[in-house]
Amino acid sequence: MHKKPIYKMPITEGSPLHSETIERLLTSYKIMPGGLLPLLHAIQSEIGYIPKTSVSSIARGLNLSRADVHGVISFYHDFKTQPVGRHRVQICRAEACQSMGSRQLEEHAHRTLAIDYHQTTADGQITLEPVYCLGNCACSPSVRIDDDVYARVDTQRFDTLIAALTSTQ
């Protein structure tokens, strides 16, 4: 993971660029014991998601069945099989944040961004996701935007953070 991940704009599924990336990453990860998760993280960090068309190359490269690879991708909340927004905004839904009003914050986020969880705003800027604890529970509610965590996020601070994202692109 890099400090500032660049959620690259989607390229068409199965594009030659994708297969090049995946082949390159496969060479470095296939020798790693238990390397499937690190490989999937690497693919996602470069491409932004894990293209469905890559499943068979991954399976071939790691000597697994396609069902195995698909099973792993679908098990973990982190892995996406669809292009996502330029920024990932995660709202903490866990108890400490609930005790400080994260339920209201969630409602506010859904309303102002006009999306539900796991959806992307129409302009492709923001994908909204739930997260269960960011380890910032002494200063809740917490929100993570890409790789930065923000503390004490009330609705006003949320709006400011979102405005800053959309203005800097």
Partner: protein, 513 residues
């Protein structure tokens, strides 16, 4: 020249520490980016070396820098954010810090700082001992696993030491044993592992190397949750520097012993904190819980004998080997020895990391350290031990923090997280959430957990809608029994605890027509 410190841990950053650092840099002052002391209610906490020791200002924003610098040249104590000597702040001074003794003192990834603060003495001692002697030392300290189950670390290590590695498996696992650090820290209200990794990562690295020497494992993995990007960066830097300094890798410190260490990222699955699910995940599979036996100590990662320990357990090992088992065992009560990393969070005025010997009561923590709720409303309920822990009403707040005392009241200390809820909390909504969380995070392998939780949400909804209330309450209790007794692991097995405690202690919340 004055030295300035401004933390780089997640919470300090989340509260604007980078902006403070930038403001200092703009004035030609390059601050040391230390780890946090864990006094999160004071973050960003700016510290400055002075003749009288380290003095602090907090919480500091970029806009305060100018006036603080002016105050430093005249009378610092007149500045409204002045905190005096940081070591004298009662919240910190009254703690019994072993694991967090170094937290916040310096740059967490600076090896020289770590050495100056008594780092690597435990490893040096261990290098002069036999594996059995190291295991004995850990056993004698009374250290119990800090990940939740409180299993004696010495017994686990002895099992791995005694278990022969399987020689028939294929390379690179042939003849190998493993040390796996559980850094999945999924419980809401917990950040103790994170603080070790972000404020004192070498302590964990040292503890893991000692574990490797103790059981004969030459490969270690830290399974870190992906929700902790700052810890990921700092751990990797620390590991790289430890390798360069020959404290990790081949022939560590010229001892002829090897220990390799790697961080692996989780992928957002709470269940992967459960040790067998974690091992599956490390092997690159779905995080499905394994049936036990075989214990991971005998057939763990890639089928080989494996120590799986929490971050805090492994970190404590470096103090135990540094100061000796007896010194560690002196802290605590009953069978709960040493110190507990209490994590105070939720609706609380002064949240943070409080390291104390076992035995302190919840009330002392909430009232004396926490100073009541953040909202100013009275405290209503306290959840201890993460999402699978019970909600405790006021009548139970005088229970001492001790594993046995907590299990006697149907609660658990778990990983030491304490989440405070004020008067406005709806405990029926919290009970429903406990079931909802289990639906979202169950690995799906066993029915009581996978289906039980779905039914649990439905039954609670019916109770709240006042549909056959009495029958449905009985049904909910039955369902809780089934989940507790029939689940493969503690995910389904403990979800009933928050639910039942909410029902028992806060029944009126379920009775709103």
């Amino acid at each position: 020249m004055r030295r300035f410190y401004i933390p780089q841990d997640t919470t300090a950053l989340a509260l604007g520490a980078d902006a403070v650092a930038t403001a200092l840099c703009a004035l030609g002052i390059e601050p040391i980016r230390n780890g946090s002391r864990g006094l999160f209610w004071l973050e960003p906490l700016l510290e400055i070396d002075s003749v009288a020791g380290r003095i602090g200002f907090g919480p500091v924003g970029a806009k305060d820098i100018k006036s603080i610098l002016e105050a430093l040249d005249s009378n610092p104590s007149e500045h409204p954010l002045f905190l005096g000597a940081v070591n004298e702040i009662p919240y910190l001074k009254s703690q019994q810090r072993l694991t967090y003794a170094r937290a916040g003192l310096g740059d967490p990834v600076c090896l020289d700082t770590y050495r100056q603060l008594k780092g690597f003495i435990g490893l040096e001692n261990a290098l002069a001992m036999s594996p059995q002697q190291i295991v004995d030392e850990v056993a004698q300290s009374g250290l119990r696993g800090r990940g939740g189950a409180a299993f004696p670390a010495g017994i686990k290590w002895q099992t791995v030491l005694d278990a022969p590695a399987n020689d028939t498996s294929s390379a690179p696992h042939k003849g190998q044993k493993y040390i796996v650090c559980n850094a999945d820290e999924g419980d809401s209200g917990t950040f103790a592992d994170r603080l070790v990794m972000e404020a004192d990562p070498y302590q964990l690295i040292e503890g893991m190397a000692i574990a490797g020497l103790a059981v004969g494992a030459t490969q270690g993995y830290i399974y870190l949750r992906s929700e902790y990007p700052v810890a990921y960066r700092l751990l990797n830097t620390a590991i790289q520097r430890a390798q360069q300094a020959n404290l990790l890798g081949h022939n560590i410190a010229g001892s002829n012993k090897d220990f390799h260490l790697e961080v692996r990222l989780g992928a957002g699955a709470y269940i992967c904190g459960e040790e067998t699910s974690l091992l599956e995940s490390l092997e690159g599979k779905r995080g499905m819980v394994r049936a036990k036996p075989p214990l991971p100590a005998i057939e763990g990662l890639f089928g080989q004998p494996t120590v799986v320990n929490n971050v805090l357990t492994l970190a404590a090992v470096s103090s135990i080997l540094e100061r000796g088992a007896a010194a560690y065992k002196n802290y605590g009560m009953g069978r709960s020895r040493g110190t507990l990393a209490i994590q105070l969070g939720g609706n609380i005025k002064r949240g943070g990391l409080i390291e104390l010997a076992f035995g302190v009561t919840l009330r002392e923590i909430i009232e004396e350290y926490g100073q009541g709720t953040y909202s100013g409303l009275p405290v209503r309920a306290i959840q201890v031990g993460g999402p699978l822990g019970a909600f405790l009403p006021e009548a139970q707040w005088d229970t001492p923090l001790d594993y046995e005392a907590f299990s006697a009241i149907g609660a658990m200390i778990g990983h030491g997280g304490i989440v405070v809820f004020d008067d406005s909390a709806d405990m029926a909504a919290q009970a429903r959430f406990a079931m909802e969380f289990c639906v979202a995070e169950s690995c799906g392998k066993c029915t009581p957990c996978r289906i039980g939780a779905v039914r649990g949400v439905e039954v609670i909804d019916r109770i709240l809608a006042n549909e056959n209330r009495e029958e449905n309450v009985i049904l909910l209790h039955d369902l809780c029994d089934t989940m507790e007794l029939g689940s493969l692991c503690a995910m389904g097995g403990l979800t009933p605890y928050p639910v039942r405690s909410a029902l028992t202690h806060f029944p009126t919340d379920f009775n709103r027509r």
